[in-house]
Amino acid sequence: MKASSIQQLKKQENFMGYLFAFPWLFGLIVLGAFPILASFFISFTNYDMNQAPRWIGIKNYVILFSNDSIFWKSLGNTVYHVAIAIPLGLMVGLALALLLNNKIKGMSIYRTLFYLPNVVSIVAMSLLWLWLFQPSFGVINELLSPFYKLFDMEPLRWHQAASTAKLTLILMGLWTAGGSMVIYLAQMQDIPISLYESAEVDGANWFKKTLYITLPLMTPSIFFNFIMGIIGGFQVFTIAYIMTGGGPSRSTYYYAYYLFDKMMSDRAMGMASAMAWILLVIVLIITIIALRLNKYVVYLGEES
């Protein structure tokens, strides 16, 4: 075949490739990149959404870091949420996957049941848990009442008390651990049975097989869920917006909630955009650190 025909064919293929990728590229550039770049510009302006943005340099960033106590409060709340919710979510998801990685009758039904909360709207889920956690007549306090009596305790006020509100939302979030469970299960089923058989020959019990075979081989999916959890965790908003309104005493006033209020209540779009960029940098730094640690904690196959 002549070189020019090959070139022509390449061009045609490239064209077709771009044509098929066009919907995604259009979305990325017009619906994704433009707002991202616009928000970067706006973060250096004073913009109340009525008058045109006015350039003020880095003042928004300076104010947020040096003279905005709620910024630090909301960031602290979010870090607390991420620090507890992510490891806990990983553990519960993994435990569920280990539990459901068995060949017993009706296993697909159990797996579906655990995954089901992920298809429930987060608004409906929040309202449901509001009922369950309601201190006076909620099911959870009803179930715990013998425990309260035994230890002569006041019933927990869950989302209504500043001391327990954040943990309540974290506990509620575990209901959707079935999402990561599916990923773990998929990887667990890829682990060669021969490894377990060899271990059995060596006399390994279930615990040892899990510790020395399953978990090390699961690290790529654990790492994936960890990164996704960090990114999602820093954006926590909806459950607090619906269940607690950021309270009590701003105890569930998360970073994204404050960003939303800066934009909608204070009409400070410039400040809100600056917050969005700070959040991006925070998540980026954590992700980069995690990726650097990747090679030490994630099993990527035997070196030859």
Binding site: M49, R157, P248, S249, M264, R267
Partner: protein, 435 residues
């Protein structure tokens, strides 16, 4: 069969296209009006009838109404105004008209009135309260018109009063009477509140509302935060101590239980007295409640009390999207005048149950409605909150965390007020830095 299916599909497609061709609007200038009567709401058909009535009287203009729920409306209108996609006419809050007028997103209503030679209706300015018109005025010109005249009052359950041998004479007029009477109604069973007489933090009662009755406020005339006087502390203490025989967790659980059940505690006969606005009248009707009740002025402090309540009315505004379309502007102004005419204001009140701003229209509307008559009387004592540019939500997001901490006693009133004041000062300082 295949042919039939193809023909049937084409027929359905044709019908869909016919439905999309604009119908009545064809050849007319389309005016967009945003309101709070969405499809499915009780007021939707009434609002639609009012718009249709206007459309049928017009040869050149066609108004397209778009209803949003109260909760969705604010974000949508704010974003639309910012992106220059606002409707021709919409509702907003009257206390911050000036900020929009200053930003140039509103048409100058005074100029439109002055240059109006259409001969179609007139806005009768003397039919609107000056106190409300002042909020809609920027640099001497009107940039909006008052639409609703919201008011707050004390709603009391007459059946519960009679049950305890009390009469209309016993309806409290002062803070001390309010507490004495309220305590008679409390029923607590096994630690759970079954019925509550009154709580000054429930319903539409607000801290700033109670402050106003004492001649106090959050801000001074220069909009600097105050909140640090003994008067402020005393009022907050009065609210906290009102139900000091009950814990805050009992009160919060009682309030949340009603909220989760979608009940208004007064309409559900869970509280004997509550501060409500004119919307509560409609809520009680919609709830199908059959108890007898009355409305009275909000009780005032025993000494030097001021009869005042928080108004929080809506304005009706014409948005300037910089399209320079005079025909559309003329049509929109005609519809604007129509909405502010006496007859239509009465119809709108019947549809929404709101007290609207047209004085004589409302006097006519409340005839034969004793509760509404009393509420209308309270409109004369209604005051709108001040707009604070550095803290537009000063009474909401900014204040609530400190208020709830004071209520549940995790902060002393002194500390809560001091922290709130510092918060406002911080916001003021930051606002001044970037403006």
């Amino acid at each position: 069969m295949k042919k039939f299916l193809v023909l049937f599909t084409l027929f359905v497609f044709g019908l869909v296209l016919m439905g999309c061709n604009g119908g009545e609007a064809e050849g007319k200038i389309e005016i967009e009006f945003w309101h709070m009567s969405p499809v499915g709401s009780e007021s939707y058909s009434g609002m639609r009838a009012i718009i249709t009535q206007f459309n049928e009287s017009q040869e050149d203009y066609f108004v397209k109404g778009k209803g949003f729920s109260f909760w969705d409306y604010w974000d949508k209108i704010n974003v639309a105004v910012s992106s220059k996609t606002a409707p021709d006419i919409g509702l907003s809050t009257i206390d911050d008209v000036v900020s929009r007028a200053r930003a140039g997103v509103l048409f100058n209503i005074s100029e439109l009135i002055e240059s109006d030679d259409s001969g179609y209706l007139q806005i009768e300015l003397d039919e609107f309260r000056q106190s409300q018109l002042d909020f809609a005025t920027f640099e001497g010109d009107l940039f909006a018109m008052p639409f609703t005249a919201t008011t707050r009052a004390l709603f009391y359950n007459m059946d519960m009063f009679l049950e305890l041998g009390l009469t209309e004479e016993d309806v409290p007029e002062t803070w001390s009477e309010l507490k004495t009477v309220a305590k008679m109604f409390d029923i607590v069973d096994d630690g759970t509140i079954e019925r509550l007489g009154f709580d000054p933090s429930y319903g539409d009662a607000t801290y700033h509302g109670w402050l106003w009755q004492k001649g106090l406020d959050f801000f001074d005339e220069e909009l600097n935060p105050t909140l640090n006087t003994q008067g402020h502390i005393d009022v907050l203490n009065w609210i906290i101590d009102f139900n000091d025989d009950l814990s805050r967790s009992q009160l919060t659980s009682f309030g949340e239980a009603n909220q989760l059940l979608g009940l208004n505690p007064f309409a559900a006969e869970k509280v004997a007295m509550i501060i409500g606005n004119d919307g509560l009248y409609q809520t009680i009707i919609n709830a199908g409640a059959d108890f007898s009740y009355g409305v009275a002025p909000i009780p005032i402090p025993d000494e030097d009390g001021i009869r005042v309540n928080w108004g929080s009315g809506f304005s009706i505004e014409m948005y300037d999207n910089k399209k320079n379309d005079n025909d559309r502007l003329n049509g929109a102004f005609m519809f604007y005048k129509y909405l502010l005419s006496k007859e239509v204001q009465i119809e709108l009140s019947e549809v929404n149950g709101w007290i609207l701003s047209h004085i004589s229209a409302m006097e006519e509307f409340v005839e034969g409605k004793p509760i509404m008559q009393l509420l209308l009387e309270e409109v004369n004592y209604a005051v709108d909150k001040v707009y604070v540019p550095y803290a537009p939500s000063w009474h909401g997001n900014d204040w609530q965390p400190y208020y709830t901490q004071a209520l549940d006693r995790s902060l002393t009133p002194e500390a809560a007020l001091l922290q709130a004041r510092n918060h406002y000062l911080e916001k003021q300082q930051n606002y001044n830095t970037v403006n």
